[in-house]
C-alpha cells in the first residue's frame, strides 16, 4: 500500500514537472528558452508513455506471457532464431531502425518554429510510432517472425500480396533517392567532405579483407582499425582541402556527385557483402551509437539556448524550406522520430526471431522507438540552437535567397530573421567550407548545430566537428543506400519473376547485375534531377518520402487493427485505430494537395501547368536557365504526380480490403480465424 502511494506521488511529480516544461515551451515569446525545458518535456513524456501506455498494451491487449515460448526458443537454430539478451537485442534493434531520417526531418520542420515539430515528435511517438513498432513486433513474434507482407496476406487476404510488393519497391526508390540526395547536397563543393567520405570505401574494403583473411571473424578488431583510419582520413581531409593541387580532384558539383553516388550504389550492390557492405555496416553502427551518445552528453552539459522562435510565420505554408501549411505537411516532413512505417519491415523481420521472452517485446518495440524519438528531439535542439537567420540562409534554395552572402542576408532579414552577411561568411570559414548558403537537405544544418555544441564542451575546432558530423551522417546514409539497393533489387527480381520465372533466380549474377542496374537507374534518376533542380530537389522529394513512409505506417496499423479485432480485443482497437485514422487523414490530404493544389508551390500539376504555359509562350521562367530545363521541370512534376497518385492507389486498395474484413467480423459476426502460431510452454 505504501509502495502504491509512493508510486502515485512519484508519477504525479513527474507529470507535474512535464506540465511545467510544456508550459515554459509553449508560453515562451520573444526570448530564448533553454534546451533543458525541451529535454525535460521529452523525457517526462517518454517515461509516462512507457510506464503506463506500453504496459497497458503489453498486459491488457496482448497479455504478454513469459510462460509462452518465443520463436527464438521453439525454433532455435543457432542462426536466424536465437534467444538474445534483452539489452543487447534492444541495441541491435535500435541500430537497425535509427538512421538519417530522424536527423533530417526535424531540421526541415524547424522552419515552422521548434514547438509544432516538438509536439508532433512527442505525441506522435507515444500514440503512433512506438505503438506501431510494438504491435507489429508482437504480431510477428507470435507468428514465427513472419514479415509484414506475409502477415497481411494471411490475416487480411491475398489482394495485398503484389500491391504490397510494388508499394514497398516504390517507397524504396524514393527513400534511397532522398537520402542519397541529402549526402549529395552536403558534399557539393566540399573537398574535405568528399575526401573523407570517399576514403570510407577503401577503409571498409580493407576492414573486409582483414576480417575475412587476416583475422577471420574478428569484427571488433577490424572495426577499431577502421575507426582509427576514418579519424585519420577526417584529419587529413583538411590538408587535402587546403592543398591547391589536390583540392580540385575532390571538388564536385551536385550533378556530378549524384552520378558518382549512383555508380557507387550499383557497384556496392553487386560486390560481395563481406567486402564493402558488412564492414561499413559495422562502422556505421558503432559511429551511430557513439555519436548519438556523445550528442546527448553534449546537450546535457552545454544546455544550449533555443534561438528559433516557438512558432514562426511559416506555419501558413509560405516557408522556403518546404512548402505547404502546418496541416498536413508538418506531419509528413517529420516521419522518422514520430512514426515511421519502414520500422514495420524491420520489426517483422530479424528482431522477432531473437526475442527471448514475450515480455521483452515491450522494451524492444516501444522502448527503442522512444530512443529514436529522442534522437529526433536532439536534432531539433541542434537546429533550433542556430541563429534563425543562419538556419534560413542554409536551408532556403538559391532560387529564393540568391547566391551571395549579401543577397541571402538581405532576403532572410527581410523575413524578420536578422542576420549580417559577415556572420554567414564567418560561419562558412569556421566550419571549413567555401559556402554554407542553400545547403538544403538538413545534414549540413545539423552538422553546424552539432559543431556548435561539441566545440563548447570538447576540444577541437568547429571545422573538425562539422566534418565529423557530415561524415557520420554520410556513412550511415551510404549504408542505407547499399542495403536499400540490395533489397530493391531482390523485390524487383521477385516481381518480374512472376511473369518471367528465370529472372527470380538470385544465384545468377547476370540477373543480379541487370536488376541492380534497373533499380539504381530508378533512384539515380530522382537523385540526379534533385541535385540539379533549381528548386533544391529536397523540396519535392522529401514530401514524397514522408507521404510514402507514413502511408506504410497506416498500412502496418491497419494490419495491427485486424490482428486486434481477430483476437477478440475490438474494444481496445482504438489503440491502433486512432493513429491509423490520423495517418490516413494526413497522408491522403498531403497527397491530394501535392496532386491538385492550385498553388504551384504545393501542387505538382499546378507547377507543371505554370511552366508548360511558359513553354507555350516561349518564355523562360526563373529559376530555370533555358527551355531544356523548363521541359525537364514539367516532366518531373508530372512524374512526381504519377508517383503520388500511385501511392494513393496502393494505400486505398489495402485499406479497403481491411475495412471489408472488419465489417465481416464486427457487423456480420463472421468467424475468421487468427493465424497465430500454437501455444508452446516455455522451458527457459
Amino acid at each position: 500500500m505504501t509502495r502504491r502511494i509512493a508510486s502515485i506521488l512519484l508519477w504525479g511529480l513527474i507529470a507535474a514537472l512535464g506540465a511545467v516544461a510544456f508550459a515554459v515551451l509553449a508560453l515562451a515569446r520573444g526570448e530564448t528558452v533553454n534546451a533543458a525545458w525541451l529535454l525535460t518535456a521529452a523525457i517526462v513524456t517518454y517515461a509516462v508513455a512507457y510506464r503506463f501506455y506500453s504496459r497497458f498494451i503489453a498486459t491488457r491487449i496482448f497479455a504478454l506471457d513469459d510462460r509462452r515460448a518465443t520463436p527464438a526458443e521453439v525454433r532455435n537454430d543457432g542462426k536466424d532464431y536465437v534467444p538474445m539478451n534483452k539489452w543487447v537485442l534492444f541495441g541491435h534493434h535500435f541500430a537497425a531502425i535509427a538512421g538519417a531520417g530522424p536527423l533530417v526531418g526535424p531540421v526541415l520542420a524547424a522552419q515552422m518554429g521548434y514547438l509544432p515539430g516538438t509536439l508532433w515528435i512527442l505525441i506522435g511517438v507515444a500514440l503512433a510510432g512506438a505503438v506501431q513498432d510494438m504491435v507489429v513486433l508482437i504480431a510477428s513474434m507470435r507468428r514465427d517472425g513472419k514479415s509484414l507482407g506475409q502477415i497481411a496476406r494471411e490475416e487480411i487476404g491475398p489482394v495485398g500480396g503484389i500491391v504490397a510488393s510494388i508499394g514497398t519497391l516504390s517507397i524504396l526508390v524514393i527513400l534511397v533517392a532522398v537520402l542519397a540526395l541529402v549526402v549529395v547536397k552536403a558534399l557539393a563543393q566540399s573537398p574535405w567532405g568528399v575526401f573523407t567520405v570517399a576514403m570510407t570505401i577503401p577503409i571498409a574494403m580493407f576492414m573486409g579483407v582483414y576480417m575475412r583473411f587476416i583475422r577471420p571473424g574478428k569484427v571488433l578488431e577490424g572495426s577499431l582499425i577502421g575507426f582509427v583510419l576514418l579519424m585519420l582520413a577526417l584529419y587529413f581531409g583538411r590538408t587535402v582541402a587546403e592543398n591547391p593541387a589536390l583540392a580540385p580532384y575532390f571538388t564536385f558539383d551536385a550533378g556530378t556527385l549524384a552520378i558518382l553516388i549512383a555508380v557507387y550504389g550499383f557497384l556496392a550492390s553487386v560486390l560481395p557483402v563481406w567486402l564493402l557492405l558488412a564492414p561499413r555496416d559495422y562502422l556505421s553502427s558503432f559511429l551511430k551509437i557513439g555519436t548519438i551518445v556523445l550528442l546527448a552528453i553534449g546537450i546535457f552539459i552545454v544546455m544550449p539556448e533555443i534561438r528559433m522562435p516557438a512558432v514562426t510565420r511559416f506555419v501558413d505554408g509560405t516557408g522556403p524550406v518546404f512548402s505547404g501549411p502546418l496541416f498536413p505537411f508538418l506531419f509528413i516532413t517529420i516521419a522518422c522520430g514520430a512514426v515511421s512505417g519502414f520500422h514495420s519491415l524491420v520489426a517483422s523481420g530479424t528482431t522477432p526471431k531473437l526475442i527471448e521472452k514475450e515480455s521483452h517485446a515491450r522494451m524492444i518495440g516501444y522502448g527503442a522507438m522512444l530512443m529514436e524519438s529522442f534522437v529526433a528531439i536532439m536534432a531539433m535542439i541542434a537546429a533550433a540552437h542556430l541563429e534563425p537567420g543562419l538556419y534560413f540562409a542554409m536551408n532556403a534554395p538559391a532560387a529564393v535567397i540568391g547566391t551571395t552572402a549579401e543577397q541571402a542576408a538581405a532576403k532572410v532579414s527581410e523575413w524578420g530573421f536578422v542576420i549580417s552577411p559577415e556572420l554567414i561568411e564567418q560561419m562558412a570559414k569556421d566550419v571549413g567550407e567555401q559556402t554554407i548558403l542553400s545547403r538544403t537537405g538538413g545534414a549540413p544544418t545539423l552538422a553546424v548545430g552539432m559543431a556548435e555544441i561539441f566545440s563548447q564542451f570538447m576540444a577541437g575546432a568547429k571545422a573538425f566537428w562539422y566534418h565529423f558530423a557530415i561524415l557520420f551522417e554520410a556513412v550511415f546514409i551510404l549504408t542505407t543506400v547499399d542495403a536499400g539497393t540490395r533489397i530493391g533489387r531482390f523485390i524487383l527480381q521477385d516481381l518480374v519473376g512472376n511473369v518471367y520465372k528465370p529472372f527470380a533466380r538470385t544465384d545468377r549474377w547476370v540477373n543480379n547485375v541487370v536488376a541492380s542496374a534497373i533499380f539504381t537507374a530508378m533512384w539515380g534518376y530522382f537523385v540526379y534531377w534533385g541535385a540539379i533542380d533549381p528548386f533544391g530537389g529536397i523540396n519535392s522529394l522529401w514530401a514524397l518520402f514522408g507521404i510514402s513512409n507514413q502511408m506504410l505506417a497506416a498500412i502496418a496499423l491497419a494490419v495491427g487493427t485486424t490482428v486486434l479485432i481477430k483476437m477478440g480485443k475490438a474494444r481496445y482497437a482504438w489503440v491502433t485505430v486512432v493513429p491509423f485514422t490520423w495517418l490516413l487523414a494526413t497522408t491522403l490530404t498531403a497527397a491530394l494537395m501535392k496532386l491538385f493544389s492550385a498553388n504551384p508551390a504545393v501542387g505538382f500539376l499546378a507547377h507543371a501547368a505554370k511552366y508548360q504555359a511558359g513553354i507555350d509562350r516561349g518564355e523562360v521562367l526563373a529559376p530555370a536557365a533555358d527551355m531544356r530545363v523548363m521541359q525537364q521541370i514539367v516532366f518531373n512534376d508530372r512524374l512526381d504526380a504519377v508517383v503520388t497518385g500511385f501511392f494513393i492507389l496502393v494505400v486505398v486498395t489495402l485499406v479497403l480490403s481491411a475495412f471489408r474484413l472488419w465489417y465481416r467480423i464486427l457487423v456480420q459476426k463472421e468467424r475468421v480465424p487468427l493465424m497465430e502460431s500454437p501455444y508452446v510452454p516455455s522451458k527457459l
Binding site: 543487447v88 538512421g99 571473424g217 571488433l220 563481406w274 551509437i289
Partner: protein, 71 residues
C-alpha cells in the same frame, strides 16, 4: 602474484563480454556460442572454423530481401 592472474582473468572476461555485446549489436552472432550449440546438437560432425562461420553468418544476415536497415 596470484592477484595479478586473477585481475588478468577478470579483464579478459570483461573484454570478452564487451566484444560479444558489440558483435551482437552489429548483428554478428558469437562463434563460441555456435561451438557450444554444435557440440550439443551435432557432436559427430566437425564444426566450421571461425572464418567459415563468419562468412556463413554474413550470408544469413544479408540474405536476399532481408530488411535490416531503416531510414
Amino acid at each position: 602474484m596470484r592477484d595479478w592472474t586473477a585481475v588478468r582473468e577478470k579483464m579478459r572476461d570483461l573484454l570478452k563480454s564487451v566484444s560479444l555485446t558489440t558483435k551482437t549489436i552489429v548483428g554478428m552472432p558469437s562463434y563460441e556460442r555456435y561451438l557450444e550449440h554444435h557440440r550439443l546438437h551435432h557432436p559427430d560432425e566437425a564444426p566450421m572454423s571461425e572464418g567459415e562461420y563468419y562468412l556463413y553468418a554474413l550470408k544469413a544476415r544479408y540474405a536476399d530481401g532481408k530488411v535490416n536497415r531503416c531510414c
